[in-house]
Symmetry: C2
Subunit: 203 residues, 2 copies
């Protein structure tokens, strides 16, 4: 027996798709934030009842973390990919245009899930805020290292601080997310991207 463990789901099978439910939850967190998203909002969007949600995902915080994983894996992957561009300018271009697409895509909520949930919040949400901030710090660290290599490669003049450049690029990205969440049009965000890249130093 036990030839295939995956084909032996004892008990009643669940009636919903976990991945689809998680994607729906991501949309809710993305548009309302962790605190602003109530369990009622989530269950309605996911099309399941509360006990099903708790059985499948644990609790609200665990659900958020799984949604955050999904976001980084499927939505914000352009950030990691941007670091592989051949020059510092290429990194900036890929990051800004990737962010532009993500933040202004009509199929998505406006703005950035991580920016939304890294700003101030109530006491109960502090732990998830910390988690989000930690992920942002990891991205920033990777970008610093990338720009340190870029400086050694001569992508920009040696008197420009690569750490400052990384921080600058992330700041513009965050500002774009804030403006997208505040209702900026895609054309406006495009103008921001183009202005920023025009000011970008070196190659």
């Amino acid at each position: 027996m036990e030839v295939d463990a995956a084909t032996a789901p004892k008990g009643r099978p669940r009636e919903f798709c976990v991945d689809a439910a998680l994607a729906a939850a991501l949309r809710v967190f993305w548009s309302k934030g962790y605190e602003g998203a109530s369990m009622a909002d989530l269950t309605e969007a996911m099309g399941i009842t509360k006990p099903s949600l708790y059985a499948a995902f644990g609790n609200k915080e665990a659900l958020f973390n799984k949604a955050l994983d999904l976001y980084e894996r499927e939505k914000a992957d352009f950030m990691r990919a941007a670091l592989e561009a051949p020059t510092a300018r290429g990194v900036a271009e890929r990051l800004m245009y990737g962010a532009l697409d993500l933040y202004s895509c009509p199929d998505n909520p406006d703005g950035c899930l991580e920016v939304i949930n890294s700003v101030a919040c109530g006491a109960e949400a502090e732990c998830v805020r910390k988690a989000v901030v930690a992920r942002g710090a990891a991205i920033q660290q990777a970008m610093r290292e990338r720009f340190a290599r870029a400086r050694d490669a001569g992508d920009f003049s040696a008197d420009t601080n690569p750490d400052g450049l990384a921080q600058f690029l992330i700041a513009v990205n965050q500002g774009m997310a804030v403006q997208a969440g505040a209702g900026a049009t895609r054309a406006e965000l495009e103008r921001l991207v183009e202005t920023s890249l025009k000011l970008w130093p070196g190659r």
Copy 2:
């Protein structure tokens, strides 16, 4: 009679200072956001009971709006003042260093009240979010007009879009606020300011 209306406060006098209570409320909203700040948080910080709060300020939303007024009047006034600098670069310098001081002052909560409350939120807070976003739009409009004049004055080359420059400056400012709220040190924010100003075009 009625020689001086201000010296005839009939009834029992209130036992707290309205201005001090409002300042305390501002601090709470500033560190936790509108939704994250509970009435219990507010009354405790303000040193008054809930009925006193309602009698003096109306309700939570009205209290927030008064705190927002106070914030713009006493904390974020550097934004308006920055527009009076003689050149576009001067505007950028005053704005960035003013923001640096505000966002990293040890006496204040970290970050920017308006950025915090302009990102996604639950349904109940939508109206106050709209109000905050509208104020931001007013600032951006004023900055656009300022940079249109700066372009006419030759502060930067004519092929640079003044609207884009205004949007860029605000985006960096918003990004700095996000990073300040996420725990960035003053030195890190200083590096961001210096990097941004080094990239600023023209005079």
